[in-house]
Amino acid sequence: MELVRAERRHEAITLIVGEFRRKVFGLAYSFLRNREAAQDVAQDVFIKVWRALPGFDGRASLSTWIYTITRNTSLSALRAKRPQSSLSDPDVMAAVDASDAAPSGDTVVDGVLLQRLVDQLPTKQRQVIMLFYMEEQSHEEVATMLAMPVGTVKTLLHRARARLSAAAVK
């Protein structure tokens, strides 16, 4: 905020990008499930943050403000273009095809199959799982990112892990 007040917006945004790049990208990815789309949204988010920085009054915390912009931008992108499953990503598709052809063990779930299982989770559970494991986030951080109570995050995480465990041992 001091940098913004001192008309050093460029330095401020550089710091913000360094701090929030992964989180903003991860949050956008949890909505869009497509790397390119999530990168485009993350770019738009930082441009919006840069434009709005002089008007940011600090009433909400910086992270809450940035996550709100990210959620809104992601939802707009989703509305503009129907959601794409990560399974439609060319890289992931190739990996899934390869894994289908390869023999797999009884309880061994490789990354691509696990990705497929995560994709089948309900949206909120999928988002919580992704964000929680993305950077070993705390429940509180994930709750801030998704604007939901911490208790809800814990419940969703518990349910998602239970579903994944059950599916993995099948």
């Binding site: 992964r22 990208f25 441009i47 993995a168």
Partner: protein, 132 residues
């Protein structure tokens, strides 16, 4: 010993732990911000110029309306002064010195014409001086 849950944890960490934007993300963003900042500067300059033009036009319009009202006032004043002069001359006429009367008879028409020309010309002259 690894429980199925801790195995799942490890796999989920492996799957999502490395999730990040591409390596060229920041360079692309900084280029966009650079372009944005230039556009921002140009827009600010254009907005300032437009505001200045509007302020100038408003000030000019205020000045013109002030001139018009002053001119109207001056014309009325001039008419009033002219009328007062006529009334004063008519009232003073019987008491004037015969010598002066002689002079007035000789030059009276010229004096009246001069005063009339002056009275009529003052507002026009004022207007021209202001506009110029």
């Amino acid at each position: 010993m690894n429980t199925p849950d801790s195995k799942l944890d490890e796999r989920l960490k492996a799957l999502f732990g490395g999730l990040d934007a591409g390596p060229e993300f920041e360079a692309r963003l900084m280029a966009r911000l650079q372009a944005e900042s230039q556009t921002d500067g140009k827009e600010r300059a254009m907005r300032a110029r437009r505001q200045e033009n509007e302020r100038h036009a408003r000030a000019l319009s205020n000045l013109m309306s002030w001139r018009h009202s002053m001119l109207r006032l001056l014309t009325l004043d001039t008419l009033g002064i002219g009328l007062l002069l006529v009334v004063a001359v008519v009232m003073a006429w019987p008491y004037l010195n015969p010598q002066l009367m002689g002079g007035l008879r000789q030059y009276g028409l010229d004096v009246v014409a001069m005063v009339g020309v002056l009275l009529a010309a003052v507002p026009l002259w004022m207007n021209r001086a202001r506009v110029g």
